[in-house]
């Protein structure tokens, strides 16, 4: 099949071309820029990151100042996102919360994707590894998250907190916990893709010209299995942001006054009847983050798709 003429494989042979040589990433970027929604997603996502990094220095209202007299205020000039149950400024908390939420979302997704893709690839490619690895996946799928989480807190919270402080220590714990509890679907998807792809002609062709296993896996098959992985990745970011709030609720997450988007949304549910702004703003931010990552993923997929480079 024509798939063998992937840019990666053909690039070295392009020495006779009159044009300057094009790199894979250069191509991808050109392709990516043509994708309007992906560019829009990138802009929105970068804005969110910049806002949460620089925002607290520009919008200098303290996120932890309690002002009981101005609790539950709707959005106003003084408090653009309103105030919460003890009068703290929601915008300041949302800006600060973005740091943890975005970082947790992306880091946990990366852990989950990397572990999942690796195990899935090994399992799908090496017949011998398939059985044991898939049984391992079964086991992880079967673990009960809640008691497991409580056990993990019990075992690791204090050492990590002592070593790295309450925020950094918990960050590693949360990212690790979410990552290691969510890689299984990715592994199943990658394995499924591998099982199909490794029988395809281009793989057989590559193998017959002596391409070794690791190159076959990572350079030839994996890029073709990227599509479901990217979907899982974009879904994973949102899920991680929300899971983080559930962890705080169990007492596993960050200190209770450390704002995160998930936490703000979670806390807002008690007041939804009369202070919907407490839920709307963090909810909207999570939505924007997730949907912008999705479009970036969409664009990436197209840009990296070997069959679409023109």
């Amino acid at each position: 099949m024509a798939t063998v003429t992937r840019p990666v494989a053909t690039a070295p042979e392009n020495v006779w071309a009159t044009r300057p040589p094009r790199s894979l990433w250069g191509d991808a970027w050109r392709q990516f820029r043509r994708h309007r929604m992906a560019m829009a997603g990138l802009v929105v996502f970068l804005t969110l990151i910049v806002a949460s990094l620089i925002g607290p220095y520009v919008y200098t209202v303290d996120p932890n100042t309690v002002d009981i007299l101005s609790a539950f205020q709707g959005p106003s000039a003084a408090h653009p996102f309103g105030t919460d149950d003890v009068g703290r400024d929601v915008l300041a908390r949302a800006l600060l919360g973005g740091r943890i939420s975005i970082a947790v979302g992306i880091a946990a997704m990366l852990v989950s994707i990397l572990v999942g893709a690796f195990i899935g690839a090994m399992s799908g490619y090496f017949g011998k590894a398939d059985g044991p690895l898939m049984r391992l996946t079964d086991m992880f799928l079967a673990l009960p998250p809640l008691p497991l989480l409580m056990l993990i807190i019990f075992l690791f919270r204090d050492p990590l907190r002592a070593a790295l402080g309450p925020v950094a220590g918990i960050f590693i714990l949360v990212v690790g916990v979410i990552g290691f509890l969510t890689w299984m679907p990715v592994a199943r998807l990658v394995r499924a893709a591998f099982l199909t792809l490794k029988q395809r002609d281009f793989v057989t062709a590559a193998r017959s010209v002596g391409v070794n296993d690791s190159r076959l896996i990572f350079a030839h098959i994996l890029p073709n299995a990227l599509s479901p992985v990217l979907v899982a990745a974009t879904l994973g970011v949102g899920a991680a942001i929300i899971t983080e709030s559930a962890l705080s609720f169990l007492g596993l997450g960050f200190p209770p006054d450390e704002p995160t988007w998930g936490r703000l949304l979670f806390d807002a549910q008690s007041y939804i009847d009369f202070s919907p702004h407490l839920a709307i703003f963090p909810g909207l931010l999570i939505f924007l983050a997730v949907i912008s990552i999705n479009y970036i993923g969409d664009g990436l997929r197209d840009a990296l798709d070997p069959r679409k480079t023109g």
Binding site: M1, A2, T3, M37, G127, K128, D130, G131, M134, R135, T137, D138, M139, L141, A142, L143, P144, P145, L146, P147, M150, L151, I153, F154, P185, R188, L189, A192, A193, L195, T196, Q199, R200, S227, P228, L230, V231, T234, L235, G238, A239, I241, I242, S245, G262, L265, Q269, I272, D273, A279, G283, I286, F287, A289, V290, I291, N294, R301, R307, K308
Partner: protein, 319 residues
Amino acid sequence: MGRYILRRLLISIPTLFVISAVLFTILALAPGDPMAQFALNPEVPPEVRERVKASLGLDQPLHIRYAKWIGGIVTGDFGFSFATRGPVTDLIVQRLPNTLLVLGVAYTISVLIAIPIGIISAVKRYSLFDYGATTLAFVGISVPTFFTGLLLIIVFAVKLKWFPFLYDSRVVVSDLNTLGQQIRQSIMPITVLTLFNAAQLTRYVRAEMLENLPQDYVRTARAKGLHERPVIARHVLRNSLIPVVTLIALGVPTIFTGAIITEQIFAIPGIGHLLVKSIFNTDTPVVLAITFLFAALVVFFNLVADVLYAVLDPRIRYS
């Protein structure tokens, strides 16, 4: 194929044993105390709490407790609940129908919705329909189920009063009237679950379709002059649905985990609700039984997925 299935079934047995040991250890080591509610009650002093725990068998060493438990499982006995002091099996049997009803319906509907939406989204990529479906899907993904559930309750049960606020597990469908009652009280939880499941599934269907649309065999089929519709139906769909079928099969056990939050919000006395209550009351035998059954489902449906995969895609060979 037959030999493959047989071998996989046989492997499942040791797998389940290993899983059971891991589950048992995690639950035995996880913190919690069935008598925590009485911690500050001077009328239930610590020595009484310890005596009660001993009467529940919690004073015995881990391996003995495991041996007793696994011995019971082999004979179909899941032990007795700390909270009700009755057989765990009774509790599960009592609650299973509620879960199966609400979740089964929700899962079926979400599959039925997600596949066509995913297909149209992929074929008419970047159309208004695609943008709409994508946006909706991401609303479904980024708004947690606890929140959608709460919103539905406030709008439809509290404000509009279309649906009952409290789920009544005593409703037995025997005539049109009770059927209507059952439907009315199931609509909200089913909606929440459907929204969440369908949102995720749509994304996967769309991605798989997109993966197959630009394939050469599609170009070839088009080049042969076939119309767009049969090309999609006969070629793209078939290939795209293979991984989707796997996903659907793999997803069956997860309807039980998805059930946890939904049953919790709507207070539907199902398996997920029982699991959460039991975890918070440290009713370990119930937690163990449910998680073990769940593990068995996972193992079984993974087997089903693999078999389906092999049947649908002749290119795959299992070694």
